[in-house]
């Protein structure tokens, strides 16, 4: 591989001048710049990222710390990773995958090894142990997820509370006074899944504010459990005429469960849901819904992180991405 020295020799200038051209500094005569560029092309030179990193103390790479939670390990992860890599590239950064089972250790060693300029923590939960080494060191980072205490770390997430309000309002506006709230199983809330907690709290509050009753059905994620739980609820006497769903497994099965018991949407039941964009893509779900916005969330995360790398001492920010309602005619006034 050609080095900057080879280019300098070829162009008949010094290495500093080549460097100036490389970094787009002004104050290089057009004629000189032209010679350097020709030499670069001729030798198909490309700067050695590692050497530049050593000289500038900037690696221009971001680490993404994936968190494992067997039950949640979802199809959405790839979407986030790819979107993150794309967003990073737009800002001139590469992305390194950090997947140690022990996320806290992954964070510590990433900081210590200085291979990255900043960290993105995916799928952050309440009291996430990965926050500790970051809070302690002040290393640039951004959380995806919105725990109550962000420990002074920048954080971004979809505004799940606003999503819940949009959906509840949509049901209330056509006259529903009761809805079945098909939600995640209790242990997910207990495990501190911030999005689940925020959605549920806002749904309850908004429903109560609008004089609406929510009947909650927690739903485990196994296909059989989901199917029987849904079937039972749908066949129940006095079941509400509307379903508010926040559970990816349940919403994926819902069309089949409805079909099983011969109920039509929206004639027999109104359905609204908040689910991941990836799920919508895979299943073409026919429900009016709020979808996660992985691109927007991740784009904001990269923006905050890059800013944080440049200005480590500014005050931490928390940003919620506004959700929007995708209408799909699955809601009608109650019978």
């Amino acid at each position: 591989m050609a080095t900057i020295g080879d280019v300098a020799r070829e162009a008949g200038v010094s290495r500093s001048t080549v460097s100036a051209v490389l970094n787009g500094r002004k104050l290089v005569l057009p004629e000189t710049r032209g010679r350097v560029e020709a030499a670069i092309a001729k030798l198909s030179f490309s700067v050695n990222a590692g050497a530049r990193a050593l000289a500038t103390a900037r690696t221009m790479t971001l680490g993404v710390v994936v968190r494992f939670h067997e039950a949640e390990f979802s199809p959405a992860l790839a979407t986030y990773l790819v979107a993150l890599s794309d967003a990073a590239r737009e800002s001139g950064y590469s992305v390194m995958l950090l997947t140690e089972a022990d996320g806290e250790a992954a964070v510590r060693s990433a900081i210590a090894g200085r291979r990255v300029d900043g960290l993105v923590l995916l799928n952050v939960v309440e009291d996430d142990p990965r926050m500790e080494p970051i809070a302690a060191s002040g290393f640039p980072a951004v959380l995806i997820g919105m725990p109550q205490d962000t420990r002074g770390i920048d954080a971004v997430d979809l505004d799940f509370a606003a999503g819940a309000r949009l959906l509840v309002d949509h049901l209330a506006e056509v006259g529903h006074r009761r809805a079945t709230f098909v939600r995640w199983p209790d242990d997910l809330y207990a495990a501190g899944s911030t999005y689940a907690i925020r959605f549920a709290a806002a749904a309850r509050e908004q429903a109560s504010g609008r004089g609406m009753t929510l009947e909650e059905v927690p739903c485990a994620v196994g296909p059989e459990q989901v199917r029987s739980a849904l079937g039972e609820e749908l066949l129940r006497r006095e079941a509400p005429g509307a379903l508010l769903v926040h559970n990816d497994a349940a919403v994926a099965m819902l069309p089949f469960a409805l079909h099983d018991v011969g109920l039509r949407v929206p004639a027999d039941r109104s359905v609204v849901s908040l689910h991941s964009a990836e799920l919508a893509r895979l299943y073409a779900l026919p429900f009016t819904s709020v979808e996660s916005e992985p691109e927007a969330v991740v784009h904001t995360a990269v923006e905050l992180l890059v800013r944080r790398i440049d200005a480590p001492d500014e005050v931490p920010v928390a940003r919620l991405v506004a959700p929007h309602l995708e209408r799909r005619d699955s809601v009608a006034p109650p019978a």
Copy 2:
């Protein structure tokens, strides 16, 4: 951050000695080594990966080049990425995500920038353009996928042909003489998906060798299309008593399609399938099947790539991972 110089000073030795300890070289007196280790711990020193990379001309990172194919962008991708990162870490490597839409450009710039020691190409198709810059430069790489012409590049994949034979044999052994082969849509084969091509060819050959007739039903991936295609086939007069499925979308829907038309497995239909491990995890599919083996495939890929980095001139190897049959009592003799 502490540098190797700080450690040397603290321990009262030279930087070379610290380096020798760091790299586990023998010929350091235990006493000296102890002093150095104490200093490292005291200063919580950690070697700067970039500086080491510059000095050794080894980045100790692998690039993974994700390929986009809208229709295929599958839940399995995350599994491969995480497994890859884990396998790489075991060998002392990190993983960098390369996601440019233009995979060929991604490969070129990864090679030019020297940020990685080797490349893993995910989901390689026939005549994959990403192979070109690798073949031209001899840069260490490994294909996941097995095109007919690997261009001299190491390659690994599940042995889809062997998987097809296992499944066909399993049906033939209990006496099936006819089976519906629910497969991918034609355009996937046309696009050069090597796994689909190899599976189909082997299935046909094995069936014909065992005197079995395969009636092929290509199945598009949209949920509605899948459902109606399956429903139609299941209700067809004279439909075979067995289904051989190689289509993730179809197999995910199959339990519902069977339920729709009131057919039981294996009493009314025998079913065998080859599908991704991720799908099996998400849906707990009740069929005897061969599943993709992402961990084994990726582990082998890393092994080959690391070896290739160390020995660039050895002859290229192609490795097929043996599949195994997971029995789930979905096969019975024909009625």
